[in-house]
Amino acid sequence: MLKNRIIPCLDVKNGRVVKGINFIDLKDAGDPVEQAKIYSDGGADEICFLDITASNENRDTIYDVVKKTSKKCFVPLTVGGGVRSIEDINKLLNCGADKVSINTAAVENSKVVIDSSKKFGSQCIVVAIDAKKNGDKWEVFTHGGRNNSGIDALEYAEQMEKNGAGELLVTSMDRDGTQEGYDIDLMSKISSKVNIPVIASGGVGNLDHLVNGIKLGKASAVLAASIFHYGKYSVKEAKDYLDSKGIPVRI
């Protein structure tokens, strides 16, 4: 039976780990390579790096982090943030990333997803959708949540599946950093709309939120940052809890 995945995410800036509260107010909290190794040893199903300042700062540091991590961690590694082109994707994959998540570039130029999934295979193309509620719909934001594209998130999700995305990483902008739980409505609507796996992200504050993301949000995988990163829960505790709630996990 296929297991639901738990994916700790490390926000990386200039080669160091940080986690933002609503994308601002950053705290420095460690070396990403060591953190990733701790997570994979602790049973993380995948590791995710998000290079949060990639769009406007020197991003060569992330290549070095990916290179070092991929020599120590033997679970899938997803890297996102500032990925603009086929060249960027190629470079990250060559450094040892297994998947690359594309956010702004996928909105601005649909060819990036179409071409990269053809070139490298859908299995390594994750489209990251930052969505914010506006009335009774959600709109897709770009540039680390700064710009509203005005695009309907549900229609966009469907389009990205058609363009060749292998997975969707859906972040609720309203919930991110709040610790109030995933936007279940958003997750379940997108999950029902597409037939590729959906990774829920944004807002996890406790282990019940992970349960809800899978049971109610119908996500295949749940991503969380701060609850793991600041030691509130270990990955193992999270898996044991999910298991106790009848959710299939790899233990």
Binding site: L2, K3, S70, F74, F120, Q123, G166, I196
Partner: protein
């Protein structure tokens, strides 16, 4: 000993290289090459593969003489070869991803899209799934039945002779996930991404 990973522009092989180097340490030389002579002289060959069946076969054919050398290595000389993911799928006679494409024809069978039961199951089949070991295989030495492996694929290999199947995994149907036929080994899952148990499979192959 030389274990050679065939680098034929089949997509991302960094993880395969990293994991083999991690297991080999300094005891075994891990070579990454498309050089025909080096492949010919290797003790063992690893054939990775990512992307589509068609793109991988085309990439193999783009290197003059490569399929001939692989045929000689695996079929004539019967030296150990491990195919991973599309590397395994290419053992088949034919694949149906994108268009109908001829495979290496080493193990009779076809590669077709996983039946997801009209959308009941998501594709790709991504994540950790358990393997049911149905036949003893040298690469499963000290691997427990029902171990978790990391999968990511939408197509499956269906061999004609079910005797070659060493393990299956349960998804929308019973999917063939490992084969052994004499000196030819293949895994649909990614041992290089399957944590310690995956590294053990790699170690078993190196130790053959």
């Amino acid at each position: 000993m030389n274990v050679t990973i065939v680098d034929y522009n089949s997509g991302n092989i960094s993880s395969v290289i990293n994991s083999f180097k991690e297991v080999a340490k300094d005891k075994v030389n891990i070579e990454v090459t498309s050089d025909l002579n080096k492949i010919k002289l290797a003790d063992k060959v690893v054939l990775p593969g990512q992307g589509s069946f068609k793109s991988c076969v085309e990439a193999l054919n783009n290197i003059d003489g490569l399929t001939d050398i692989l045929n000689e290595f695996a079929i004539t000389n019967k030296k150990p070869l491990l195919g991973i993911c599309v590397g395994l799928q290419m053992f088949a006679d034919i694949g149906y991803e994108e268009t109908e494409t001829k495979g290496l024809g080493w193990i009779s069978g076809k590669v077709s899209k996983i039946d997801n039961q009209n959308g009941k199951y998501r594709l790709p089949h991504i994540g950790w799934n358990q393997i049911n070991i149905i036949k003893e295989s040298k690469i499963f030495k000290n691997i427990e039945n029902n171990s978790h492996m990391y999968f990511v694929h939408s197509y499956e290999f269906i061999p004609k002779d079910t005797n070659v199947i060493s393990a299956t995994t349960d998804y929308s149907s019973n999917i063939v996930c490992s084969i052994e036929k004499e000196n030819i080994f293949g895994t649909q899952f990614h041992p290089e991404k399957s944590d310690k148990v995956g590294l053990k499979i790699i170690s078993n192959f190196i130790d053959l």
